[in-house]
């Protein structure tokens, strides 16, 4: 018994020793990584840990935090009706814009890839431009403006489809559809670029082989050759689109106001901003952030396991 333990201990000790020796030998490599590691740990990892820590406290910045256990989480799910609206809206936005944006990114990339080179470059710029042009989505606010000068209202009135202007951005019935449209418009993110690049790097001979082996059409080519080869890009795109679709806030605040009418456009992130930057209830805001973070990680795990099945 003790002899077995001794060998085990010796083994771990010698293993630790070799690791330590290897670590000492790669000192210069650690130095290369050090600047990144300090910033990364300080401003990306530590905040998540700090957030989880404060989510169990009552903390208003001015007084030291008080430990209150799970009370923030209990309030969040049982007492805060606005949070439930926010959660519902976020899930609707994520469930619609996430998969549609992701699929659209792939379909557009797949189709654009077939174009001749110059046309392809132009198409890439056009489809990617809404994502990178900053606050240009504010233009939708003018297009959907609630008076007769709003372009959409005027257009529909001209056609005789409506006879008085629709309050697109203040009527709770219309806020969400308009916001979904705008988010979809700017949802072809870095995943789209990764897809295009991946498709261009595809080995043409594999596609030929597929037809020789009996592929009948483009769909079979897609399923048996293109998708399996694109798996790493698909995974990258999924991570990007999950992050994007759960983090919606800027667009809703800019278009529907903050807070929006009847909280019709409240999302988890705007709720977080409300408690963090307006009410200074940092503990509660941290609990919201933690819930959001856990949801995103969980969602990502699900998508990853789904993507593993692609092409099998």
């Amino acid at each position: 018994m003790s002899k077995g333990f001794d060998t085990f201990r010796d083994m771990t000790r010698s293993k630790l020793k070799t690791t330590w020796r290897r670590m000492k030998k790669s000192k210069s490599q650690y130095l290369f990584l050090l600047p990144f590691l300090i910033i990364f740990a300080g401003f990306y990892i530590a905040p998540v840990a700090v957030s989880i820590f404060y989510s169990f406290t009552y903390y208003n910045i001015f007084q030291p935090p008080i430990y209150i256990g799970l009370r923030n989480y209990v309030n969040l799910f049982l007492a805060d009706e606005v949070f439930l609206i926010a959660l519902k809206n976020t899930f609707i936005i994520a469930a619609i814009t996430g998969p549609i944006g992701y699929l659209a990114s792939f379909v557009f990339a797949w189709l654009i890839n077939e174009l001749p080179k110059t046309l392809r470059t132009i198409a890439v710029v056009i489809f990617y431009a809404p994502t990178i042009s900053g606050q240009v989505y504010l233009i939708w606010g003018i297009m959907f403006s609630g008076d007769a000068y709003g372009y959409v209202n005027a257009f529909l009135m001209n056609l005789g489809l409506i006879d008085s202007p629709v309050q697109w951005l203040t009527d709770p019935n219309y806020i969400m559809p308009v916001i979904l449209l705008v988010i979809l418009w700017m949802s072809l993110g870095s995943g789209f670029l990764a897809f295009i690049a991946g498709l261009q790097g595809l080995d043409r001979s594999q596609i030929e082989a597929c037809y020789i082996d009996g592929c009948q059409n483009r769909w079979q080519e897609l399923w048996y050759v293109v998708l399996p080869n694109m798996k790493p890009m698909l995974l990258f795109g999924a991570v990007m689109s999950i992050t994007q679709s759960f983090g919606v806030a800027d667009v809703t605040m800019a278009l529907a106001g903050f807070p929006s009418t009847d909280y019709a456009a409240e999302t988890v992130v705007t709720h977080l901003i409300d408690y963090g930057s307006v009410r200074f209830d940092m503990g509660y805001a941290s609990a919201i952030a933690t819930v959001l973070f856990m949801t995103m990680i969980l969602c990502n795990k699900i998508v990853q396991s789904l993507l593993k099945k692609v092409g099998n």
């Binding site: 174009l115 257009f155 990764a194 790493p232 990007m240 952030a289 959001l292």
Partner: protein, 286 residues
């Protein structure tokens, strides 16, 4: 060439191709129209902005809106050039730091052999999911502890450690042949010399891409939760204040939008071939 044509015939019909072109044209129009509308609005004189029914395209283009913008800007007690300087300083410093720091880290994770390498990379990949909002509040508390509130550093330093930058560079650098690095080592090149003379020139597409992402982020940074002194505020913040001016500022607001979108779109157009080359190795392997 003949080979290519033959391939096209496989499973691809002319009707199908035509359908694809039509579909892409419609989708492209949907993507492009709001941008065109913004540009067109920026050049509309006042009477055309409030004409009923509203016109999509401008009839008598004018630069009035841009002139108005500069008038408003010169009336504010912090000169316009100060906002521009702030944003330029943040963007340039942050981007240079970001390229060097993420490339250095990416190099040793891609080509090094130190213990803990794959664990660190796994954490970085997970962190690609952190939305800025999740970390905003604790980041404020950390900045306050460091005494960085109301300084440029609160914006610049976190941007220098962009996980996406390290991720893309590392994926790209893995494609650089080890033979080159071994040859350099035999020639007695130090780790830093190898990095600077071999890795950096060869991974140009990667760091050009990092520049694009970094510029996009910093150029649009409002930074309003870290910076409170008016003379340190950024251009997007100042422009947003102008846009909040209401209906009377509709034309000026469009001019602002156009100015803000030019820089990111232009940088992307100029570097898109480099970006594509980098994104080709962006995949996450499991």
């Amino acid at each position: 060439m003949t080979k290519r044509r033959k391939k096209r015939q496989l499973g691809r019909s002319t009707a199908g191709n035509a359908a694809i072109y039509v579909f892409l044209a419609i989708a492209g129009a949907f993507m492009l129209l709001p941008l065109v509308y913004a540009v067109s609005n920026a050049f509309k004189p006042l009477d055309e902005l409030f004409v009923f029914p509203p016109r999509f395209f401008v009839k008598n283009p004018t630069l009035d809106n841009f002139a108005d913008l500069f008038t408003i800007m010169s009336q504010s007690w912090v000169p316009f050039s100060r906002y521009l300087f702030n944003t330029l300083f943040i963007t340039v410093t942050g981007t240079i730091g970001c390229v060097i720091i993420t490339s250095m880290g990416a190099y040793v994770i891609a080509k090094g052999n130190f213990p803990g390498r794959s664990l660190i990379f796994k954490i970085i990949v997970t962190s690609l999911m952190f939305s800025g909002y999740v970390t905003a509040i604790p980041n404020y508390l950390i900045m306050a502890d460091l005494g960085w509130i109301d300084t440029y550093w609160a914006v610049i330093v976190p941007a220098m450690g962009m996980p996406m930058g390290l991720f893309l560079s590392k994926q790209f650098m893995e494609g650089i042949p080890d033979v080159l690095l071994e040859a350099a080592k035999i020639d007695g090149s130090s780790e830093w010399a190898t990095f600077w003379n071999i890795i950096m020139p060869m991974s140009k597409p990667a760091w050009v891409t990092v520049i694009i992402f970094s510029v996009q982020g910093l150029w649009n940074a409002k930074a309003s939760n870290f910076i409170f002194s008016e003379e340190l505020k950024t251009l997007p913040y100042a422009l947003q204040q102008i846009m909040n001016g209401g209906v009377a500022r509709t034309g000026v607001a469009s001019a602002v939008t156009v100015i803000m979108m030019i820089v990111p779109i232009l940088t992307f157009v100029l570097s898109q071939s480099n970006v594509m080359e980098t994104m080709a190795s962006s995949g996450i392997k499991d």
